[in-house]
Symmetry: C2
Subunit: 256 residues, 2 copies
DNA sequence: CGACATCTTGACTACAGTCAATACTAGTGG
DNA sequence: CCACTAGTATTGACTGTAGTCAAGATGTCG
């Protein structure tokens, strides 16, 4: 998988280059997926782009929301933190995912760029008004929200009931599936997974410590389930063995 | 809190008694909350009631969905199960919550009545058509789905990062808050919580074993955070001490 | 090269899980 | 009314998985 990880030098100029929605890489998947040409023209008038470097905050919890919008490229995380510093990632945002909740003036979660990120933004008020006038947009957003809810529920099973080893394998399966979906292909038996997350961020996703993440990756390596090409790049020789390690049904329930 | 737990003998006759939407107890909170009289009349023509006894299945995962609708009374659980039997609750449905996902012909999760349940149902096709024609319904459903997503994310933090003791306390806080919301009141310092779930079901919610649930409830009792009135009824003498045990901010982030 | 991030591995600990015995409660029938 | 049963809940003893603390290894960038 190649989660879009364009360096900053590329992402920033893109902000200017992308004024035409019809050439937008997420045109068919984002909240505007079902808009017609005339509606896109309207969106083009009010949209604006913002880019964020890896590690930069996109939204801070408890702070006013100044924009909502679609992730055009890169990876961002949604996290929640307890006062004593324990952190849990509660969402992973990939290209075409929507950032911000309509009607919400104050952000509930921290949203952080995991890689360099390009965001197609709208003013919250303007977007809210748009939702009232354009049922296609509202309907698409409902669909996307239901998908996110399903993903969150899938993740609750991982967090609540899977072992550390199964959690790591499940994360890799998700990465592989998301990428296959992006390429509109089935997941191949042999594949390479680029990890857009550090060990610590993976730990925050999985409800583990970074040491346990590291240990379990090593264990999967020793068992031949995967090979480390580098710290952030993994070769899966047989996808079915990864699925098995994830503890899912062999067919993965629903095949992408 | 008094989560509506009407015995079966009461719930079943109610099916006939409730034909008039204007007298419906969830009128102001369900998916139909923002419908006008004329729209309610339309809903009344196509709605039908079904009741379920405690423990009965409402939907089976992988089975065709024959109805969607609103929970009128009672408590239901949404659960996911691994082949080896590990189970995780991924949602808790209380009165006014919506059952079933629009456009989904096959259920993804098991939905089970935890107490006796009364459901206000629609045929999936008819409801889908309604969504297209009535933006208020679609908008309300989006709002409810976003609320559910927030609840799921809150829960991911509990599952991933909290200790067994904090998990139990968090569950009781949720029950207390939901009930306070239902009564449109603030959570009182001293309160009584009715537990609509068995120890095992709580364990499924919290990603624990039933033994650990029992042990931690005993521990909270020994520490004076709560008193057991019966196995399913708990007295909280000081709500702030429960919050503290839950590991949340003292004010609970957002007060209901 | 040196400084700092990130990642891996080791030794030890502790929290929650497992297996098992016992207690409690409610419902049934003699 | 009490005995019996079945389901639910509590408690105990022991084990194992993942967390903690700490040392090194690897990698990246000025």
């Amino acid at each position: 998988m190649q989660i879009n990880q364009m360096p900053n030098t590329l992402a920033r100029p893109a902000a200017a280059a992308l004024s035409d929605c019809s050439e937008c890489p997420i045109r068919l998947h984002a909240v505007c997926a079902r808009c017609e040409a005339s509606e896109l023209a309207e969106l083009e008038r009010i949209k604006f782009y913002r880019s964020f470097s890896a590690g930069e905050a996109i939204l801070w919890a408890q702070e006013p929301v100044e924009f909502v919008g679609s992730l055009v490229s890169g990876v961002a995380t949604i996290t929640q933190t307890l006062e004593d510093g324990r952190r849990q990632m509660v969402g992973l945002l990939l290209p075409s995912d929507f950032v911000g909740r309509p009607g919400q003036a104050i952000a509930r979660y921290d949203v952080t760029a995991a890689t360099d990120v390009l965001l197609c933004c709208f003013r919250p008020r303007a977007f809210e008004a748009l939702l009232q006038r354009k049922p296609e947009i509202a309907h698409r957003l409902l669909e996307m929200t239901l998908d996110e809810l399903d993903a969150a529920r899938e993740w609750m099973l991982v967090l609540g009931r899977k072992t550390a080893r199964e959690k790591i394998a499940s994360l890799f399966v998700i990465f592989a599936r998301r990428e296959a979906k992006r390429q509109r292909a089935k997941v191949a038996q042999e594949l390479v997974i680029d990890l857009p997350l550090s060990r610590e961020t993976m730990a925050d996703y999985l409800g583990l410590t970074l040491e346990t993440v590291s240990r379990q990756i090593s264990a999967l390596r020793k068992d031949g389930v995967l090979t480390l090409l580098s710290a952030r790049k993994v070769l899966i020789p047989r996808f079915d063995r990864l699925l098995e390690a994830a503890g899912d049904d062999s067919d993965g329930g629903f095949v992408l």
